[in-house]
Point group: C2
């Protein structure tokens, strides 16, 4: 199986297509990297980019796009609804296939150091790559955004992991890290009582005592007259889809409510679904090399 690392940089530009294209072109020019998706949001003034490949080209592409974004984006002129601290706001490395989290953490450190050394942009490590516990959570690093960080970066608690304790005059600072892929998974219930979806969301999510790595909220689907438990599963290995799904079914049953369907939004790693099949079929031993497509080089 080929090694697959995913990288999902967020840049602080969602209004000037020529700038976005110039940054994206840097990725396109790295051999061995596939650009899967990018989408700009004008209100957020932000673009989310997704590309994949083996580790070396992915690291190179992450650096090159940062260099271009640092040249073209001026945080002094940036406005937008989404919290941000720099021209390249955040760069997560994500293990998909044939690569360990440890390798993604090492990649994050290497790229963060290179950005600081060569571009003079201070960098922070977050997620699994965090060097301080409070920096596992991106929101803590972004507190007060670019404008506050510019003033506070000299303080001990805001000191960057690499580079000067001074924001770049136009590019601010950048957060680099490693995390598991997200699975966006929603479960629909045969009731119009939103409080039931809220109750179930509280039962399954980490913040209120449920499963680790799960974010959840109740949503009313007006057009269907049904409610939904809308979730992000942030680690499908440690907290698998089937376990959360079965818990939702059981909690719903307590109110006499049934699950009518579910949705997987966007991309999902193959292994997350194979894990579901294995669990329900009670497969005793299975190796992902048995998946025919995985035999192809």
């Amino acid at each position: 199986m080929p090694q697959i690392v995913e990288c999902v940089p967020n840049i602080s530009e969602g209004r000037r297509p020529e700038v976005v294209e110039a940054v994206i072109d840097e990725i396109r020019q790295v051999e061995g990297v596939s650009l899967l998706d990018y989408s700009s949001d004008a209100d957020h003034n932000r673009t989310v980019i997704t590309f994949v490949g083996e580790m070396e080209p992915v690291k190179e592409a992450a650096f090159r796009l940062t260099k271009k974004a640092v040249e073209l984006i001026d945080m002094e002129k940036h406005t937008g609804e989404h919290p941000r601290i720099g021209a390249v706001d955040v760069i997560p490395f994500i293990p998909i296939q044939g690569v360990e989290m440890e390798e993604c953490i090492a990649a994050a450190k290497e790229v963060a150091k290179r950005i600081a050394d060569e571009l003079n942009v201070p960098t922070y490590l977050y997620g699994e790559a965090a060097q301080r516990p409070e920096r596992r959570n991106l929101a803590n690093i972004r507190k007060g955004q670019y404008e506050a960080l510019k003033e506070e970066i000299g303080k001990e608690e805001r000191r960057p992991d690499f580079g000067p304790a001074k924001t770049h005059p136009t590019a601010g600072a950048t957060v680099v890290g490693a995390r598991m892929p997200l699975v966006a998974f929603n479960v629909n219930l045969d009731t119009d009582q939103k409080w039931i979806a809220d109750k179930i969301a509280r039962a399954v999510r980490e913040s209120s005592g449920g499963f680790k790595n799960v974010k959840a909220m109740g949503v009313m689907l007006e057009d269907r007259n049904q409610v939904q438990v809308s979730m992000n599963l942030e680690n499908y290995v440690k907290t698998p889809i089937y376990r959360v799904f079965e818990t939702i079914k059981r909690e719903a049953a307590r109110y006499g409510v049934n699950v009518v369907g579910s949705e997987i939004i966007g991309l999902v790693p193959q292994q997350a679904l194979i894990d579901v099949a294995e669990w329900y079929l009670q497969v005793e031993e299975f190796n992902s090399d048995q998946v025919l497509e995985n035999r192809l080089k």
Copy 2:
């Protein structure tokens, strides 16, 4: 997604490695084809070869290996336990990804015609490519094997679909066709009563009134002191794994018996497992393009 066609030719040579290698080398020389596996059985005097690729190179490789096998294998001298009618006994084309059964049927016809025209070996079409209903079943074409076919090929009911109504003097005849991939799936029960596995096998298999496309039998697992329902699922799209599995669980429950586990033997198409995950999670809409790995070129 790249197009993937699987081809699993069976050649009538399992004792002389130099002959097997010479035939396999023909496949290796076709660009765009991946050799996944080959295994020889000396008792059967037969080798089963598995390779995959896009349609054009797969067809080319199928023809070239046949040409080489026709040169090197003499059916007049062949002995072995497995039924066979020719040097290349059977060549199935199997749709795996991004390819329709209709295209595999067309490929089977084209390759069967080319073998007849260029190698003067009579060919039969079987499985989904069959031109006569009784030829869907390979066993009907192979009745009496090479030795009987040599005498009977002139009869109307044994007339080949392509080529002369006369077996090749050394290579006999070849069967070419199209079929779905097999899934070898076994379900283990928490009982040592083999009759229960036999009963359940009869309940789920086509031949005794169960599901179409299912072959099943009861097996005693001596070392575990448990019994097994051992199956071939011959069309995972029309007769999916989860439906057969759920039926086995229900039938076992009628005897107070539980399913303790299952096994998937050998290769399985990714889609067969994704279908399982979708069904159990009650996913409302899912496109296999959402599987991250399928986005890679």
